[in-house]
């Protein structure tokens, strides 16, 4: 079962845990298990059931946007990393 890497900004909603073991065959199932266990994560990670645009999710090192999105399979993967994008500008 893959381990979900939780970014520091969200750890206050996972009792401080930086890595969570979850169950699920796809990213969607893993995220559902995560937000069921830690309900405060739901509105922070998801909008209309999809991962919010500025939050990057990787299965091992691949961005799920380039795989199958939330239907990406995670069986056999080591890590699902949730990592908010770093962005900004000068205005």
């Amino acid at each position: 079962m893959p381990v979900v890497r939780i970014p520091s900004v969200l750890r206050k909603h996972t009792d401080g845990e930086p890595r969570i073991e979850t169950e699920g065959a796809t990213v969607r199932e893993v995220v559902d298990a995560l937000v069921t266990r830690f309900p405060e994560l739901r509105e922070r990670l998801l909008e209309d059931g999809e991962i919010r645009g500025f939050v990057n999710v990787y299965v091992d090192d691949e961005d799920i946007r380039y795989l199958d999105g939330m239907d990406t399979e995670v069986a056999g993967a080591d890590e699902v990393a949730i990592m908010p994008a770093v962005a900004g500008g000068d205005r």
């Binding site: 890497r5 970014p7 520091s8 900004v9 969200l10 930086p18 509105e43 922070r44 919010r52 500025f54 990057n56 990787y58 090192d61 691949e62 961005d63 990393a81 990592m83 908010p84 994008a85 770093v86 962005a87 900004g88 500008g89 000068d90 205005r91």
Partner: protein
């Protein structure tokens, strides 16, 4: 407050659910060795007029690991870190327990967080460093903490 005096929450702060953490202790200085400072300025100059971005991992002994990260936007006014490079660097920083600094360059404006910088800041533990090339002869690096939309400056000491 941003430069217009407005409070901007970050995307993970849900209004009415979170109490603002007030921290009156002055921010400790961020120690930046001269070699890393020069490398950051060099990096910022290398892709001028486009903005550059990168990450620093600060070890307990103060030494710094520096990653230049591709700016996927390649814009003069906006940056977005290449996700894969960001992931690999941040994973190393986190797994080693190093302190995190996030830097980017302002090519034409001062080294102060813009409204966009504040709205998109979601790493509360990071020191946000801005390299300004507004004066090409005197590049400047300033540091900040950005917590729930509030900016507090962190003095940067170049050693």
């Amino acid at each position: 407050m941003n430069t217009s005096g407005e409070m901007l929450p970050d995307p993970f702060t849900i209004p009415d659910q979170e109490t603002r953490v007030s921290d009156d202790t002055p921010d400790e200085a961020f120690r930046l060795d001269r070699a890393t400072f020069d490398a950051m300025v060099e990096h910022a100059s290398s892709d001028f007029p486009y903005e550059v971005c990168g990450l620093l991992g600060v070890r307990p002994d103060g030494s710094i690991e520096h990653w230049e990260i591709a700016n996927d936007e390649r814009s003069m006014t906006y940056y977005r870190m290449n996700g894969k490079e960001q992931l690999q660097a941040m994973r190393e920083i986190e797994d080693n327990g190093w302190d995190l600094a996030i830097y980017h360059s302002h090519t034409h404006t001062e080294a102060y967080p813009s409204r966009t910088d504040v709205e998109l800041a979601v790493y509360p533990e990071a020191t946000y460093l801005i390299v300004s090339l507004q004066d090409r002869d005197q590049p400047e690096v300033r540091g900040f903490h950005i917590l729930e939309g509030e900016i507090s400056e962190v003095p940067v000491h170049v050693t």
